[in-house]
Amino acid sequence: MFHSKITRRRALASLAATSAGGFAALAGSRPSRAGGPEDPRFLIVLCASGGASIIDGPLAIRESEAGVAAPTLNCFPDLIFADLDPSIPFSAIDATLGAVGPIPIPFTTQQAQFVQAHHDDMLVSTLTSTSVNHQVAQARAVTGNGAWRGRTLQEAVANQYGAAFPLPNVHLTTGTAFTERGADSSLPAWAYGEQVADPALWPLALDGSRGTSHPVDADVLATARALRNDVLDAESKFNQAFAASDGVRTWTGLRGNSQAAIEQASLIDQLLFVPDAAPYNLGARGLTPSPDAATVRAAFPNYDWDPLHAQAALAFLLIKNRVSVTVTLGPGFDLVLEDGASLGGGGLPEGSMANPPIGFDFSHQGHRSTQGFMWSRIYEVASGLITLLRGEEWDNGQSLWDRTMIYVATDFGRSKNRVANAPEFGTGHDLNNGVLMISPMVNGNTVLGGRNPTTGMTYGFDPGTGAPDTGREMTEEEVYGGVLGVMGVDTGGETDSVPAMEA
């Protein structure tokens, strides 16, 4: 059994209320029980930067539900809702639009296909966050607002399961606070995120010689490194003077075992997903694409111009090849156009834009179209990852997907109102929202809490039973604890798990 049903933090808090000394004593006696790489679970944090509004995705509201509030509420015509089985508690909207905000590009939102295929693994938990500042909110989305000494979800999972993995925690996206280092400095160095700037070429940095224009035999490189590390550096005046500096100490620590472990795993052979063709020309430098390269390129065909597809391709390979236990990816804040796309003819060709400027936050300019476009993007990438992970056996008939969670992290929600009957409108930031988790390990096909169809506001639930509670809002700390509970991370009583989230 993975789960450790967590001792109650609130019980400690109650003790603290009556006896500060008692609390301190208990806090100090908490055992450190991190570890357990032998039976890992995998966490994919899919960052929906900019504010993925849950009532534009799986909790979308029909005009008929909203009643008299419909004209000024962010709700949708009943006709564009996909006809899903009544047992599915989620909404799905398939609509064709002519623009994303002011950007003239036709596109079709495609939510039904994903929901129909994966509803059994989908869990929506309502959430009311604590900041409408992007950076602050993003950081809190992965730390539970500092729930566990500032440790991020990724760091917690890496610390629990990653000891035997070469790079347990890899960050594939940049420019967001979802990948900020957490505030807990007590973790081992390998538990913090390893940043990847370019997923296509980053695997080259996994071997010191192979693929270079002047490679040498591994033995030659080992001989030279031994001389450098053990003799020249160790004895140099520079090192004797500055060995205590943080930079030199870190550098010296990274050389040696860490470096050797990465190279000995031959990761460069497993993680290059680009083809052996221009401009990569791997074969000319003695390299070959990963055996899975063609498969991941088929799943994420825009890898050479859409950073999210490239991230997803590498994310799968990192998990499949037991390199990482957690990966973080997501669409960025930059406009992404296919090479050669132009506005000739008055608009962009369909499919030529992968990402609008500022991602989900482009909802300021055009809420409905942006949310529709971006939710489809999230679903598309999640679907690709799920399909690939399902195809990989872990052990005893269990697939990698059976041990993986995709947590769709987002900053916050969006304002719920619109100009009367406007089909397109701009929105601001709103604390009230919800988050989507996808995994066989969650209590699937479930909405925990709910949304008021006349206000668009979400309400909470009982963490133990999952019973809706209209008088309650769920906190970042609760969602954080819930995710870690599903992931089987032992928090030593620092956070509560949420049994209602677990399968």
Partner: protein, 245 residues
């Protein structure tokens, strides 16, 4: 940076910290050659021109005293009381390497013959990319892959220099003494001396020369001289001293 043994501050730090290096009248001369200290002007380190102890100047062979036959003793240096050094980051390192090895920056190193190495690894090596990937500050944590990236750059740049020098020995800038095929110990010594001056802007100690020269014997026979040249350059170009300032 280095403490000067002639200053009262040095005596104060020694007294307070009881540093082993402080013993013996100036402690391995660590402070006394504060101007040389491996990070700036060449020559002063091994010249023994100040109050440094014998072990610091490294001119004598301690094997005579100890019966040990491992060559000269390594130098000793007092630990800095304020050990604050900075990583060069990718662009600065590439610039230094380019100047040291007389290689145009654009041909210093490429990945897969198409991509500039330094650009490929620049985030890993401490740069930012505000306009490309919205990375406004250097990574807070040094990536596990950073030393490997440095090795790739150093190996490639040194290999490039070796290729040019061995193809046209008459125009060699780093490996002139061995590029013609004579890898005698004296010639290798001369190359090591030059590499230290080019890459670290200082003279090597006798022990450093001996150790790098001796690496030759540990390499495979085929193409040994050129491989040694490349790797002699590599061990110096990727040393901690070359990467921090």
């Amino acid at each position: 940076v280095f403490l000067d043994a002639r200053t009262p501050l040095f005596a104060l730090v020694c007294a307070a910290l009881m540093l082993p290096a402080c013993r013996g009248g100036g402690g391995g001369g660590g402070g006394s050659d504060s101007d040389s200290a491996g990070t700036d002007s060449a020559g002063t380190d091994s010249a023994g021109s100040d109050s440094a102890s014998a072990s610091d100047t490294n001119d004598d062979d301690s094997a005579d005293e100890t019966g040990n036959d491992d060559g000269p003793e390594p130098p000793t240096q007092a630990p800095s009381a304020r050990p604050h050094v900075k990583f060069k980051t990718a662009q600065r390192y590439a610039s230094d390497l380019s100047a040291a090895l007389s290689l145009p920056r654009e041909s210093l190193c490429t990945e897969l013959d198409s991509f500039d190495c330094v650009e490929v690894h620049r985030i890993t090596l401490g740069e930012v990319d505000a306009f490309g990937i919205r990375l406004f500050e250097p990574l807070e944590t040094t990536p596990l892959t950073a030393p490997i990236a440095v090795d790739r750059i150093g190996l490639t740049a040194c290999g490039e220099r070796a290729q040019l020098d061995f193809e046209t020995p008459g125009q060699a800038t780093s490996f002139a003494e061995v590029a013609g095929g004579d890898a005698s110990e004296d010639n290798r010594d001369a190359v090591v001396q030059r590499l230290y001056r080019q890459l670290l802007l200082r003279d090597p100690t006798d022990r450093e020369v001996a150790m790098v020269t001796a690496m030759y014997d540990d390499l495979p026979a085929e193409g040994r001289t050129r491989t040694w040249a490349q790797m002699a350059c590599f061990v110096i170009a990727t040393s901690t001293e070359a990467l921090f300032y």
